[in-house]
């Protein structure tokens, strides 16, 4: 398919703009644009067809089942798109005076209250723009908290099953990283933990249920170890979809939580974003939350900038407001039945596992929560078929593949998260496809090695992409990479969070 730039013709345009007979002031020559940017020159019909063709070559949750583990790809209710486009939200300037933005402030205040109740914690800031920024914010809160107490702590621990964001956030926040192992039931290794926690430990970052989809059976003991050492517990909310209304991170002993509004609370993921990563904390940490705080006063809602101990601002204004509108609408549609959301998510995962465990290896044999991790290790050993091959072949059956090669401690991992919104027929069809693929691995492994067969492109040469680093269209000098030899080489770890 052509790039929009290859469809461009000088003299075409899609825009019409107002004109006034007013003089345009002269720009000093050294500041004036010398060469116009080569933006596309297309009329509206071509532009719309181009976007449509691109959409046709993209698979979303609207297209089909998307069991990408740890990403919580649930249905995104359409009413949320309607309400976020109400002019009172869409066209509201963030510098509007508080008297002129009472509805927005009330919505944010209500969402804070709801999120605090779901997490079992005291205070919420909606400001962080994504889960990874929530992590960074949480670590900044730790730093500020210990600085205020005059304690020097320089190390943060993460699990070896953690999302890559956890260790990356630790480094970015200036802490030293220490990793904790996993025991043979998929829990944190308590002995390893005990041997590493010291008076220099600032805290632990943990996902619970873990990225293995397993609830840590010793979480109370874990919390005790850290709290006894004066350290804090950070809850990575990536897997919160498993436990809403069932068990609360605050009750488990966590001091800081981030939520992924784009996972648990249905903000559509948009091909990579936007998201929302609010943080909740115990009252001792509230003074350090970002400014401004959204507060309720006797005469209405307000923005409070007067927080002398605050870490500052992590993003512009009060956060990604449109994401808040969708998350708030989503939760209000459930009410206390939010618990049923998590129950069904867990039921769906357990059902898939029950039907798949005969054909794929299960490294940790426990009842999973909202997701579970299988291994294609046996298929690889016996038939030379990898998790990547299974993933690519699933595309031919019309499904988005699960997350693969993550968590890192499981070889040939297939991490499957169905979410609560799928029908049983869909789950059954997915099971049939997975079972068929396991049979194909035995009989016709080449079919898998060469998959996918039904997509606009076959396997792509990722090594060539990284080596050549063609990251924009080069117009007249654009290279023709098809003239260079290519192999279907993929980087193994295809995982984020």
């Amino acid at each position: 398919m052509k790039l929009i730039f290859e469809k461009s013709q000088s003299g075409r345009r899609a825009s019409s703009l107002p004109h006034h007979d007013l003089p345009v002031p002269e720009i000093p020559e050294e500041l004036r644009r010398s060469q116009p940017p080569r933006l596309p020159e297309v009329a509206e019909p071509e532009l719309v067809r181009h976007l449509t063709a691109l959409a046709d070559r993209t698979f979303g949750i609207d297209t089909g089942f998307y069991p990408l583990g740890s990403c919580t790809m649930k249905h995104n209710p359409r009413v949320n798109e309607r309400v976020v486009n109400l002019p009172g939200f869409r066209d509201l300037h963030p510098h509007q005076e508080v008297e002129g933005s009472q509805g927005a402030l009330e919505l944010m205040w209500r969402l804070q209250e709801i999120l605090g109740e779901v997490a079992g914690l005291d205070a919420v800031s909606l400001q962080p723009a994504a889960g990874s920024q929530g992590e960074l914010t949480g670590l900044m809160l730790m730093r500020a908290y210990f600085a205020e107490r005059g304690e020097e702590r320089d190390t943060v621990m993460t699990a070896d099953t953690a999302h890559g964001t956890n260790p990356a956030s630790v480094t970015m926040s200036g802490y030293k990283l220490q990793k904790v192992g996993t025991d043979d039931r998929g829990n944190l290794d308590l002995d390893d933990l005990r041997s590493k926690v010291t008076e220099r430990t600032a805290g632990l970052m943990l996902t619970n249920p873990s990225t293995l989809g397993l609830f840590d059976e010793h979480i109370e003991e874990v919390a005790r170890i850290f709290h006894d050492a004066g350290a804090l517990l950070y809850y990575d909310g990536a897997n919160l979809n498993a436990v809403c209304g069932i068990s609360r991170p605050g009750d488990m002993g966590f001091d800081i939580v981030h939520y992924n509004l784009h996972k648990t609370f249905s903000q559509p993921h948009g091909g990579g974003g936007p998201g929302g990563g609010p943080v909740a904390v115990r009252s001792e940490l509230e003074p350090f939350l970002p400014v401004p705080a959204v507060v309720r006063r006797a005469d209405g809602f307000d923005l409070d900038f007067d927080r002398p101990l605050s870490i500052g601002k992590v993003r512009g204004f009060t956060g990604p407001f449109g994401v808040f509108v969708r998350a708030y609408a989503f939760i209000r549609a459930y009410g206390p039945a939010l618990k049923e959301m998590s129950e069904v998510a867990v039921l769906n995962a357990n059902y898939l596992l029950a039907r798949l465990r005969t054909a794929y290896e299960l490294p940790f044999d426990r009842l999973p929560m909202h997701e579970f991790v299988l291994s294609a290790r046996a298929l690889k050993r016996e038939h030379g078929v990898t998790a990547l091959d299974v993933a690519k072949r699933l595309m031919d059956y019309g499904f988005h593949p699960p997350t693969i090669y993550f968590p890192l401690i499981v070889p040939e991992a297939l991490m499957i998260e169905p979410t609560e919104t799928e029908a049983k027929e869909t789950l059954d069809a997915f099971v049939e496809a997975m079972l068929a693929i396991a049979r194909e691995a035995e009989v016709t492994p080449a079919l898998l090695k060469e998959a996918p067969h039904s997509r606009p492109v076959r396997r792509l040469d990722e090594v060539k992409a990284a080596k050549r680093a063609v990251v924009k269209f080069g117009f007249d000098e654009h290279p023709d990479l098809s003239l260079e030899p290519s192999e279907p080489r993929a980087l193994e770890a295809q995982k984020g969070a």
């Binding site: 790039l3 929009i4 345009r13 899609a14 703009l17 006034h20 345009v24 500041l31 010398s34 940017p37 933006l39 976007l51 691109l54 959409a55 698979f59 990408l68 939200f89 509201l92 510098h95 933005s101 079992g120 730093r143 964001t165 260790p167 990356a168 480094t171 809403c244 069932i246 068990s247 948009g270 990579g272 974003g273 936007p274 993003r315 990604p320 449109g322 609408a329 009410g335 206390p336 618990k339 069904v344 039921l347 357990n350 426990r366 799928e422 049983k424 492109v457 076959r458 396997r459 792509l460 990722e462 060539k464 680093a469 063609v470 990251v471 260079e484 290519s486 980087l491 995982k495 969070a497």
Partner: protein, 440 residues
Amino acid sequence: MSHLSLTERDRSEMLAAIGVDSIEELFVDIPERLRLRRPLALEPALSEPELVRHLEELAGRNVHTGRELSFLGAGMYDHYVPAVVDALLARGEFLTAYTPYQPEMSQGVLQAIFEYQTVICELTGMDVTNASGYDGTTVAADACYLAKGTTGRSKVVVTEATSPQVRQVVKTYAPGFGLEVIEVPHRDGVTDPEELRSAAEGAACVVFQHPNFFGCLEPAPELAAAANDAGALPVAHVDPLSLGVLEAPGAYGCALAIGEGQGAGNPLSYGGPHYGFLAAKTEYTRRMPGRIIGETTDVDGRRGYVLTLQTREQHIRREKATSNITTNQTLLALAGLTYLSWLGPDGLREVGETCMALAEYAKERLDLPLAFPQQATFKEFAVAVGRPAKEVIRAARAQGVHPGYALGRDYAELDDALLVAVTEKRTPEDIDRLAEVLGP
């Protein structure tokens, strides 16, 4: 619940297949003491019509730009968002896809991001950009982190005429990044290159906004040269809508160009979600934060697109990653691509010229002294109103006009300064009305 598809019969069949009698049994691994044995204290569920009514009621208590003639800017701008952006956002494939980890499933969104990257590089005169940052503030912190990694220096210089929120975010990130932040004051609304030159000694980078927070055109090439002379990376924080008329930062020696994309294709939405962009010269490619899309071919030689240079990223490099960013702002960036494709090069220049012409008309009509009379401006300018600007805003709003932003909120010495933003959506008649409201 209408989002759930399982019938009672489905549930019992599924429980039987699992080999348990109830859903409750699936949660056996959660210790009893940690179970919430009461319903969540949330208000009762709302049906869809009730939900819409409730949110309409909340939205109705906000004074949006359709209810008030607005000259508010200060970082977020009421530019026109064309209907063709709706065509993009209406496609569920873009709306509901995850990050394109599996390229064969995601060629459309990958190609679209590649086109977005091209457009941003064209605007800024840079060689590489990522698939977006969170907003115009966090990309500044990203730029500082990149500069520290490149130069090994920990001091960063930010001009005081750079958006206060951008400066605040850089300062919030600074302790974790190990940065020392130095601010260079403005002189009559702009930055003095000589003052910047001495501040830039030993610095990793110099971040300056152009046009700056006051709307004034900075001596941008001189500022970039001052930074380069000191071996500090010049980082220009630019308004994409200015880049049809103002020179590309890459053409006057900047190492990086960053900015807020809201005005290019996204509504105000009370401050987000929008997108930030961070573009750089080639030599900084492997230190870039975030997703980058690259071109390649498939096994048959067909052109295709993939996430590339992933060895910079958290999911591969973990604690050694160049950033922890994962979720970004792709959909909003694609709204930006759509908007800039709608404009084309002529449209972009016209928008810039129209804003400038209207802003000049406003300066003349307002009959108020300019706060920085010596300076050329783009779409925004500051006037001295002779009393606290907050009072003027209150009085004007009572007449249905929001006249602008009170600079005293961030600059104590500018308490009487009102920052007025004029986009192409305002008309000369709108400006006449503003003049009437602000008049004696």
